[in-house]
Every structure is written in C-alpha cells, then in structure tokens.
C-alpha cells in the first residue's frame, strides 16, 4: 500500500554524472519512499545502470552536479562501504568473481560491517552459519555455494541468487537491483523475484533497473520510470510498463527530439 506520507528514503535531485569526462546522467530526479517498489526502465545506453553505480559510489563515475539525500544524509560524500553499511544495497548486473576469497567468510564480514553500523554484536563463525542457513531458503540456494570462492565458477543464475542472498543478510533500507533479470531462465527468475518480494517490507524500498517487462510480471512496481539520454523522461504506475511492452521504446526518440527542440 502506498502512502504518500511515508518517509522519504532516497531523494535524487538533478543528478548529473560522467565517466571518462563523458557526461551520462543529465539531471535525474527521483523520490523513493518507504514501502515503495520503483522500476527504472529504458534501452541500453539510457543511463539506468550508470544511475545505479553512481548511487552506490563506483569510483569510475564522477558526479558533476545535483544531490542525493539518503534518509536526510548527503549520500554522495560517503565512501561506497559507508553507503552499504547504512543500508544502501546494489545488486550487480555482472557480479564479479573473487578467487580465493571464501563466499561464507565474505558474507560474514559484510554482514558484520552492517551489523556494527546498526549497533549490533558481531557474529562469530558459528552464529553466522546459523543465520546464513535461515537466509538460504529465500533464494533456495544450495549450502555448497557457501564453501566456494565468491561467485567463482557460479552460473549466471547462481550469481544472481548469491546477490539476493547478500541482500537477505544485509537487510538494506534501499535495494537497487541492476538488471537482476538479465541472463536468467524463467525458473531462476521466479526464484530471484520471489526472494525480492519476500524481502520487501513497509520499512524498505526497492529500485529495479530493468529492460523488460518480464521481471515486473513477478514483482509489481508502484512506480515506473522511463529513462532516456540520462534523464527520466516519463513516470507513471505499473500500467506504464505494460504500455512499453506493447508499443516499445520508439516513441522515446520522438519525445526526445521534441524536448531537444523545446
């Protein structure tokens, strides 16, 4: 249920960013409140993945203007690890492999960093194993994946499940899921979407970055935004996603051409 009086968790104002001196974001505006699920859709190169990386603090992207406020705090001045500790989560489109680093140990260190920030006690190996075992169910993941190196040799679907497992452990306030549906078969997609639905609550928010409607058939967004040329071109409810599915993105070019002229 959307309440317009729910607290604002993330406020993006006229955000501009570039990579290698190439401007990508040209003034993005977005307001995300507690309990909401947002979807940002758009074609490749529209800037939607850049938006997610800038929010998470990727060092390759330079913010050139605008502001991002996370629960009243200036997000942009924080290091990526600090953003994560206070509850921002980025689910990667391409989770990287880290050979030699045990997945279990990685999950434990990450979970403890978040717990410490929340004033909770650190979990030792045994306590953490208990916790992680309860969370595995969220994504129906085989415990054998805990014993392996982070993402090493994981299939595309396993990597994405590992992302949602991390989300289940870190209990983020705002979760940004960058093309979580890409490269997944329908069964894996169902499992991942099921995990996201389970984790959504009135106190947190989810921002889905996606190309296709098919993820939104499984996770119903409250707000849909269409991104093009580094801006949010149009916002609406779930019906906007269906409309896109029907008419495609061609209208975007016309609309862009109009705004250029205007």
């Amino acid at each position: 249920m959307i309440r317009s009086d729910a607290p604002v968790l993330l406020e993006v104002r006229d955000l501009r960013a570039s990579v290698d001196d190439q401007p990508i974001l040209h003034g993005v505006n977005l307001t995300i409140r507690a309990g909401e699920i947002h979807a940002v859709m758009g074609r490749n190169g529209s800037g939607k993945s850049t938006l997610s990386k800038v929010l998470a603090g990727h060092p390759a992207y330079t913010v050139t203007g605008g502001s991002v406020t996370y629960r009243g705090q200036d997000l942009l001045e924080l290091e990526p690890e600090q953003r994560a500790r206070i509850g921002l989560f980025l689910g990667f489109q391409y989770p990287v492999e880290i050979p030699g680093v045990s997945n279990l140990e990685f999950l434990r260190v990450a979970t403890n960093a978040r717990r410490q920030e929340r004033g909770e006690t650190e979990l030792d190996t045994f306590a953490f194993e208990d916790l992680v075992n309860t969370r595995l169910a969220v994504v129906q993941m085989d415990p054998a994946f805990l014993e392996r190196s982070v993402n090493e040799g994981f299939s595309g679907g396993e990597k994405k499940r590992n992302e949602i497992l991390q989300m289940a452990l870190l209990e983020p306030v705002v979760a940004i899921l960058d093309e979580t549906d890409s490269g997944l078969d329908i069964d894996a997609l169902r499992i991942v979407a099921g995990g996201v639905n389970q984790l959504a609550s009135p106190d947190n928010a989810t921002l889905l970055i996606t190309h296709y409607q098919r993820l939104l058939d499984l996770i119903t967004p409250d707000h849909v935004h269409v991104m093009a040329a580094g801006r949010i071109l149009r916002s609406g409810g779930p019906e906007l996603a269906h409309e896109l599915e029907r008419i495609g993105y061609d209208w975007v070019d016309q609309e862009l051409a109009l705004t250029e002229v205007g």
């Binding site: 990526p80 990667f92 050979p99």
Partner: protein, 479 residues
Amino acid sequence: MTSTAVGDLVAQPYKYGFVTDIETEKIAKGLSEDVVRLISAKKDEPAFLLEFRLRAYRQWLQMQEPDWAALGYPPIDYQDIIYYAAPKQQAKKASLDEVDPKLLETFDKLGIPLSEQKRLSNVAVDAVFDSVSIATTFKEQLAEHGVIFCSISEAVKEYPGLVERYLGTVVSSNDNYFAALNSAVFSDGSFVFIPKGVECPMELSTYFRINSGDTGQFERTLIVAEDGASVSYLEGCTAPMFDTNQLHAAVVELVALDDASIKYSTVQNWYAGDEHGVGGIYNFVTKRGQCRGARSKISWTQVETGSAITWKYPSCVLQGADSVGEFYSVALTNNRQQADTGTKMIHVGPRTRSTIVSKGISAGHSVNSYRGLVQIGPKAVGAKNYSQCDSMLIGDQAGANTYPYIRSQQSDAVVEHEASTCRLSADQLFYLQSRGIGFEEAVSMMVSGFCRDVFNQLPMEFAAEADKLLALKLEGSVG
C-alpha cells in the same frame, strides 16, 4: 574517489627499522685468506672446518658473480664489507639471565620474546644477531627427546662428527658464487638434528637479525632428519633501515633420510629500501634439501616480502624412491624491489613427486620473477610434477615474469605446468566495498585469497602473521 583514498594510504613505515645501540666487535673490512683464517680462529674451529672454508674461498676466487637473473643492481664491492661482527659479550651464555638485556630487549621489540616468562610456549627459538647466535630456548626440553637444536658454532664444538658428516654435502662449497662465499665466511646459523624415529615435539625457529650497517650476514643452517624423523622449522628475518645496502648470503642444507620429513618455512622481511629504492638488503640465498631416503619428504614454504633484491631458489633433490618435494611460495614486491625466486625439483629416484605453487604479487615499480626448474633424470621412472605459478599485478607500473624450465629424460614422467596472471581489479574492490567492506580490508581479503594455497602450508602460529605482514606491505600501493 577511491583512487585518491588509495593515494592517501601512504606506505606503512617499516616496523623493524630500528638499530640496537650495542658495543660490537667487528673485524676490518675486506676479504682475504687471512680474514677466513681469522673468522675460523675467532670461533676456535677444528681443522676440518678451516680446510672447508679455505677450499671454498679459493674456489670463490675463481668464480664469477651470476648475471642471469632478471635483476639489476650496481656491482657489489666485496672488499667494502665487514665479514664478522658480534655483540661484545662473546662467549655464548649458559643461561638467558647472562645475556645482555639490550639484546633480549631487541628481540622483545621484534616480537620474539626469549625470556622464560614471555617466550612462546610451543616454539623453540634460536636468536641470531649479526654474526652470532645469542640464545637458544628449550634446548634441554628438546634434548630429552634426543633432538639437537643449537647454533651451528656450538654444534661444531659439541657434535663435530655430525657437522663434518653432513656440512656441504647438499650444497657443495663450489655450488655457486654466493654459496662459495658463504662457505668461506659463514659465521652462525642453526643446527638441527632429529634422531631416528623421533617426531620433534615442538616447532623450531631461528630469528635472524642484521643490526650493523656495514656488515654482511652469512648464516649457515643445517637440518638433518634421520630415518622416520620429522620436524617443522621456521625462520624469520628483519634488519634496520640504512640507506646503504647490506649483503645477506645464506646457505641452508636439509637432509632427510628414509621416511623422514622436514618442513621448512620462511617469513622474510628484511628491510626493502625506501620507495626510491635507496637502501635495503641484497638477499642471495642458496637453500636446498636432499631427500636422501626412500619415502622422505621435504617441503619449503616461503613468504618473501622484504629485501631490495631477492635471489633465491629453495630446491629439492629427490633421490630416494617415492620421495616428495614441495615448494609453496608467496613473493611480494613493492616500490623498487626486485625478486627473482623459484625452485628446482631434481627428480633422481623412481616415482618421485613434486609440487610447486608460486604466487607472485607485484606492486609499485617492482619486478617479480618466478624461475623454476623441473628436471626428471633417466632413473626417475614414474616421476610426477605439478607446477602452478600465479602472478597478481597491482597498479600498472609493476612487472611479473615467469621462467619455467622443464628437462625430462623420462618418457613416462608427468609434468604439468599452469600459469596465470591477474590484475587486482577496481571492479573486484568496488564489489567488496559495496558490501560494506572497507578498502584496506578488501585489498587484504583479495591478496590473502590469492595466497591462500600457500598460507595454508604455514605453521598455524605464523599464518595469521603472514596475512598481516602482506596487508601492511601493500598499504598505499593499490590504485
């Protein structure tokens, strides 16, 4: 953002760079037959040893300094080095209470407490300061098991027969230029003898400390494990920061008889010079183990993080049938450090097996080369070798080379070699950071992950230390 954060992480100052102010007895600079005789006389050595030294010295005069390694350094003036320096309490003390407190304090500061109350409960330590051993702990307890653990000078006096029987039998005095030099002028080092059937009841360890700025350190270590005996031995090394270079040319010989096993671990943290490459130790070391007996095993584990120059190839001669040689190495270079290190596995006996796992990490402007030889002789029927050499590059100014040499005279031998090079990537770091893991911790997680196969081989007490040491060495180098 991250790259500036990295820049701010200025390299950690070398923790062990202090000099102990202690009265030292030094001989004059330079090397000659007289100097060799003087060293031998100072140590009151038997005739066989003086002969051994003189023979080595004469051989050394005929030899050329090797230049095949991927190393660059100005010529070493061997006449500008002091070949013997010892803290002035000459005679080795019967009890620790009589050892100069300044020396005990030095080792305390290095994290190697020697006094009865503070020393590690399960590790016996031989402490070598410049050219002499100043103390060995747990000698009596070890003697109850028949284990001899003492300085090599002491062994020459107490067990001349054993020393004469084994010294120079694995690394002959003319093996190479630096081994010949060592054989002529070696001052001290450790001697370990594990008698038949005895499993050494505790870890043995030698800690080498260079203190003088103009002295070379030439230590000699000899470890013998008789039939069915086993021992785990660890050496550690540090030196003060000087803007000159000190020469360290050690020789280590291991002998394993039937069914014996020797595990030799090194954590080398000599002063590496500053970020411009000024100062630091020149580390030219010959380490070799001989699996003389059937089913014997020699395992080298090394974590090489220090020294301006490292030239070191701990090797195994696999003579006994079914004997096993192992080499696990992490070599980390930063700033202007250069390392040319690896191993030789010489398969002589039938069904001999060897494993090589080498992890090189190069940061800054350093160069890190793996050089390894796997040789399968005509009698080594069914010999097997597996080699894995991985390099990690940090930044874009560092270099990594791999020189694997394979010589096989056995058609049925199995020799496998795998090599990889990776770069510590910004994307991996960002991934860990985006999960709340701080930058430094992320780097250290990735590096220790890369080195895990080797660290797993270290004695438990030292694995965590090695991890920390690497993290410390890398601070400020990632970007």
